[in-house]
């Protein structure tokens, strides 16, 4: 079961951390960071191979199929490592693309980690127009004209109940014509929404925590007044 919340006409945020554009038959994900484990190992840290390209790709395919999407758009940071790509990383990205399947189109908007190009999929620098939406990587600093879907920030929010128990979740952020997706990668670090809001356009932002296919609106509003 995949839950979703519609934040604008034709734009739904899903419980798997994607944006679903039903009219465009497309899903958008951000900050996949394929190759994170490899990069960790190169820096002396050990992470077991849980999110290899093939595994992540299969997950993305399943999400696409569940939403009858024919197109997957990555809003930046498909790769993790910012070094020149090597054979291992290339192999993982190709595994990723293969797992998505030839029947689903793959678009990659380049992010700051995607140095040297996308390697797989159709690559776009800057912004990709999809129907009435703009897909980019880094959020805009002023309110845009068209609805913009992006990533880069890896937002996380802490929710708490009356006994003081709290849990921290990746979340999507929605503001005026801007939707920031949670990081698709399980490994990638995140930042608290409280800290992030200062790098976003002035105004109110809603945070939607995401967990195991469930996305909820708990009336979490954060904002920044003009200083």
């Amino acid at each position: 079961m995949h839950g979703w919340i519609e934040i604008a006409s034709g734009l739904r945020l899903t419980g798997d951390g994607a944006a679903w554009l039903p009219d465009e038959k497309a899903i958008v994900i951000a900050d996949v960071h394929v190759g994170y484990e490899l990069a960790a190992q190169r820096r002396g840290g050990y992470l077991p191979p849980i999110h290899r390209g093939a595994v992540v790709g299969a997950r993305v395919r399943a999400i696409a199929l569940a939403h009858h999407a024919e197109r997957v758009i990555v809003a930046g940071d498909l790769r993790h490592s910012t070094r020149d790509i090597d054979a291992f990383e290339r192999a993982e990205l190709q595994d990723f693309a293969r797992a998505i399947g030839g029947d689903i189109a793959l678009d990659v908007v380049l992010g700051n980690h995607d140095r040297g190009g996308a390697v797989v999929g159709r690559e776009t620098s800057g912004t990709l127009r999809v129907g009435p939406f703009d897909i980019g990587h880094v959020p805009p600093t002023v309110v845009p004209q068209r609805w913009t879907i992006c990533g880069h920030l890896h937002p996380r929010v802490t929710v708490r109940d009356e006994t003081g128990v709290s849990a921290r979740y990746p979340c999507a952020l929605a503001g005026d014509h801007v939707a920031v997706l949670p990081a698709f990668s399980d490994w990638a670090g995140g930042s608290s929404v409280g800290r992030l809001v200062r790098s976003l356009p002035v105004g109110a932002w809603r945070a939607y925590p995401v967990s195991e296919g469930v996305i909820t609106d708990l009336d979490i509003v954060i904002g920044r007044e003009v200083a």
């Binding site: 820096r43 002396g44 802490t158 009356e162 006994t163 128990v165 490994w187 195991e212 469930v214």
Partner: protein, 859 residues
């Protein structure tokens, strides 16, 4: 004694009789045993000449060998101490005697630069310079003085290992401080490695302050294949313990009063003693007190000493201590003072030291003159603390020590040492397994666990060999070795078992200096406005910039749990003592009212009014509101949270020590089955904050407090809190999974350290059998928490569980409640938690008005 003296070679014997006249009792017992080649554990109070005992025996053998021309090259004796301040202790016990003995023999003595001296001593510690280290290799000393970490490094240095072939004695000092920790297990493995590197099994000599149980400690020292002689000696003259109250008639004295009492105690000593030694329990308390004493005694040199001091500062304080110019030293760790501090007639302990062994070790720093007893003065800084001081002093007098426990087969330490072993040699799996199992801690290590650790280090889950970027080892044909030369470097740079976490500075806005630090992952979960405790005050979080968080002073109770990781726990024995003391005071009250209690305190503890009255009224008020239970009864007191009527606080009085109460609280919470629970834990009690709809009923009590399956329930419970995640970071560091230093610290490594908690949540879900996941569970369940004490208590209670409803928290629980929630547990899955919060929000506000009704199904 004559026999022992007779066993010493003449030059050494003459030095002893000229310098001291006599041997101390521990020396008399130890020297013959060492001479006979027996393994020995010497347990005796500080100041009884243990260290000298070991060195005298060894020096005697070395001098004899030199005189008969049979003293070869290579290290003969290794002396290991956990202290960072090795200098003065070694100087007094080894270097000076050696110099004087050599002078009698008419030979040059071998410290410092004299490589031609017949008997040479040298040190290798974290402070040793590269030049000094190189000299160790080219001109190895006969006596090598080192620390556990430096020993491990040397055992993994190819140019050093040949020098260990000739080792005949291994002396381990401060055994009581090592045996019960992972650091001790790490050293035990190093001792086995050293044994394997030596041509014949060296004699092991362990030096320990008074400690229990001696067999456990002896087993730690000697492993499974050797039996040591145990030399245990207790001073016949009693130490004198005084308990002083800083209450001045108030149950909760204000901090100024406490400071005044401490200052007066110091003033009484500062002119007569060369050095006045003051112990506190935390770094923060040390700094504040030192500051206050500096102001009060500007004419004297006052300093603070603790493990977080920069190296230069630390050495400077020690130098001033040695020179006798430092009149007052305030410290929180007795360990660091392995220094001769001259005449200290009385040691001052501010607040209960929580542990009898620690108390005796601290007090043992005093009374080293022949005609003096060790003297300790405890200053109780609050009513509960005062009771605990009384208990600790009673237990010190009776010699009731708290037992040391050796951690069982920690897999993170094993992983680190296997890498160290591989750094210098190729090992057959069977041989390495056999070596490891000689250490007592690993006697029960299964071959499967051993292989799992090797598989992790060799990354065998990755089928493509070239792809094994992480791998430290290569496994093939039943053997393993290092994968590349950088493995040794990684080991050297990451040796050890002390894992530090990233710290965030807390600064009030506008202040110039931070008021303290919190852990990085504590900060991660804060939202603006959240209130937490630091340094005894409540602060509201505003925002963070990098590694600094800005706060504003706040009122009211803390709103987020504040992990009390830096607070020392009371031992079960001490905690139980407080429970028993409260019951005795209750009995005195029941019989004789407030006067009865006051009389008891005056007679037994020489306490005076108005403190006796204050304590008596404390007991009286409690007993009137809610009768004081016996320590072995399970009594639950509950009340509606005054700040939030939706919450009912259920508190259990359990005098078991914080570690056992933490285990018990989590198990009981887990047995509630659903929802979420806030936990409050201290040494005397624990409490659960439970939503009113989940309040306990009489029928559920038996199930909640059933001793059966407690460990399993604790394990399930810990999985639902943040406790694992925090502990995982330390385990991952020790096990070289997230190394602290990798070819110069990279930002990525730093980021991974900070993300340890999240890495844990993924790892634990996907790879629950991963060795370091299992080690995290073991560390928390067996080392951090105390399940056996909790089980024993519930079994004793055997169903005597009662519950009372109160209007609010009773006096005995004020301290627990004031500290705020220490942790919280989610008893449901993370997505279910979100769903529940949403349902509550909908119910509270009604549909509409800002709550989106939005969970649809995509077909």
């Amino acid at each position: 004694m004559r026999r022992a003296l007779g066993l010493l070679t003449p030059a050494v014997r003459a030095w002893v009789t000229d310098t001291f006249g006599v041997l101390t009792p521990p020396q008399t017992a130890a020297i013959p045993a060492i001479h006979a080649g027996e393994h020995v554990l010497i347990s005796a109070p500080t100041g009884t000449g243990k260290t000298l005992a070991a060195f005298l025996a060894v020096l005697s053998e070395l001098v004899t060998a030199h005189q008969t021309g049979s003293l070869g090259e290579g290290v003969q004796a290794v002396y290991i101490s956990p202290l960072r301040a090795l200098g003065a202790d070694v100087q007094r016990n080894l270097e000076r005697p050696l110099a004087e003995i050599c002078a009698r023999l008419g030979v040059g003595c071998g410290m410092g630069d004299d490589d031609t001296a017949p008997i040479r001593v040298a040190q290798r510690t974290g402070d040793t310079t590269p030049a000094e280290r190189r000299r160790l290799i080219t001109c190895p000393p006969h006596v090598l003085v080192t620390t556990p970490e430096s020993l491990a490094i040397m055992l993994s240095t190819a140019s050093m290992t040949p020098h260990f072939r000739t080792v005949r004695w291994v002396i381990v000092d401060e055994v009581h401080a090592l045996a019960g920790s992972k650091r001790g297990v790490h050293l035990a493995l190093s001792l086995e490695r050293l044994g394997a590197a030596a041509a014949s099994d060296p004699v092991r000599v362990g030096l320990s302050a008074t400690v229990a149980p001696l067999d456990e400690v002896a087993r730690w020292l000697c492993g499974t294949r050797r039996t040591p002689r145990i030399v245990s000696w207790r001073a016949p003259r009693d130490a004198v313990f005084t308990v002083q109250s800083a209450l001045a008639g108030e149950v909760v004295p204000n901090p100024q009063r406490v400071q005044r009492a401490v200052t007066q105690a110091v003033a009484a000593r500062v002119t007569s003693d060369r050095t006045t030694l003051v112990f506190t329990n935390t770094r923060g308390a040390t700094e504040r007190l030192a500051h206050r004493l500096r102001e009060r005694f500007p004419e004297h040199d006052v300093a603070a000493h603790h493990s977080s001091l920069a190296r230069e500062e630390r050495l400077d304080v020690e130098e001033r201590l040695r020179a006798g110019t430092l009149r007052v030293v305030v410290t929180s760790t007795s360990l660091e003072l392995g220094i001769d501090i001259g005449t200290v007639d009385e040691v001052i302990l501010v607040s209960s030291p929580r542990d009898v062994t620690r108390a005796l070790q601290r007090i043992g720093r005093s009374g080293h003159r022949i005609d003096r007893h060790p003297r300790g003065r405890f200053i109780g800084t609050g009513v509960d603390d005062l009771l605990e001081c009384l208990v600790v002093s009673d237990r010190c007098r009776a010699g009731e020590l708290d037992p040391v426990r050796v951690p069982v087969a920690p897999l993170d330490v094993l992983a680190q040492q296997l890498v160290g072993m591989a750094a210098v040699a190729r090992w057959r799996d069977d041989d390495a397994y056999a070596l490891v199992r000689r250490a007592a801690s690993y006697a029960t290590l299964s071959r499967a666990d051993f292989d799992a650790v090797l598989d992790y280090l060799a990354d065998t889950s990755e089928t493509m060999e070239e792809r094994r970027v992480y791998a430290k080892l290569v496994r093939e044909n039943g053997a393993f070795e290092a994968r590349g030369r950088s493995v040794a470097t990684i080991f050297y740079q990451n040796v050890g078992t002390i894992a530090g976490g990233a710290s965030v500075r807390i600064k009030p806005r506008g202040a110039s200096a931070p008021i303290g630090t919190v852990e990085e992952d504590f900060l991660e979960q804060l939202r603006p406005g959240d209130r937490f405790l630091l340094g005894g005050r409540v602060w509201a979080f505003m925002y963070a910039q990098g590694m600094t968080a800005f706060v504003a002073p706040a009122t009211g109770r803390p709103s987020v749990p504040r992990w009390a990781s830096e607070i020392l726990p009371a031992t079960p024995g001490v905690a139980w003592g407080v429970g028993a003391m409260r019951a005795r005071l209750r009995d005195a009250f029941v019989i004789g009212g407030v006067e009865g209690v006051a009389e008891l305190l005056a007679d037994r503890y020489e306490m005076a009014a108005p403190d006796t009255t204050a304590l008596a009224e404390y007991v009286a008020t409690q007993h009137a509101l809610s009768p004081v239970p016996d320590p072995d009864e399970v009594v639950i007191e509950r009340w509606t949270d005054p700040d939030d009527p939706r919450v009912v606080v259920h508190a259990v009085t359990s005098p078991l020590g914080r570690r056992a109460n933490d285990a018990l609280a989590r198990a009981v919470a887990s047995r509630l089955g659903k929802g979420s629970v806030g936990l409050m834990v201290d040494d005397q009690a624990f409490a659960l904050r439970v939503p009113r709809r989940a309040a306990w009923t009489e029928d559920t009590l038996a199930r909640l407090f059933d001793p059966r399956d407690l460990r399993a329930d604790v394990r399930a419970a810990v999985a639902r809190s943040d406790l694992w995640g925090r502990r995982f970071r330390a385990v991952a560091s020790i096990g070289l999974m997230l190394v602290k230093n990798y070819h110069g610290r990279s930002k990525f490594v730093g980021a991974m350290q900070m993300n340890a908690r999240r890495i844990w949540s993924v790892l634990e879900r996907e790879r629950p059998d991963f060795p370091l996941v299992r080690e995290t569970y073991r560390t928390v369940l067996d080392d951090d928490l105390d399940v056996p004490t909790a089980v024993a208590w519930l079994e004793r209670a055997a169903g005597r569980v009662t519950m009372r409803d109160l209007e609010g928290p009773p006096p005995f629980l004020f301290r627990l409640v004031a500290a705020g929630t220490t942790d919280s547990m989610l008893l449901e899955e993370r997505d279910a938690f979100l769903r529940r919060l949403w349902e509550q929000a909908v119910a509270a506000s009604g549909v509409g008005a800002g709550v989106a009704v939005a969970v649809g199904v995509a077909g």
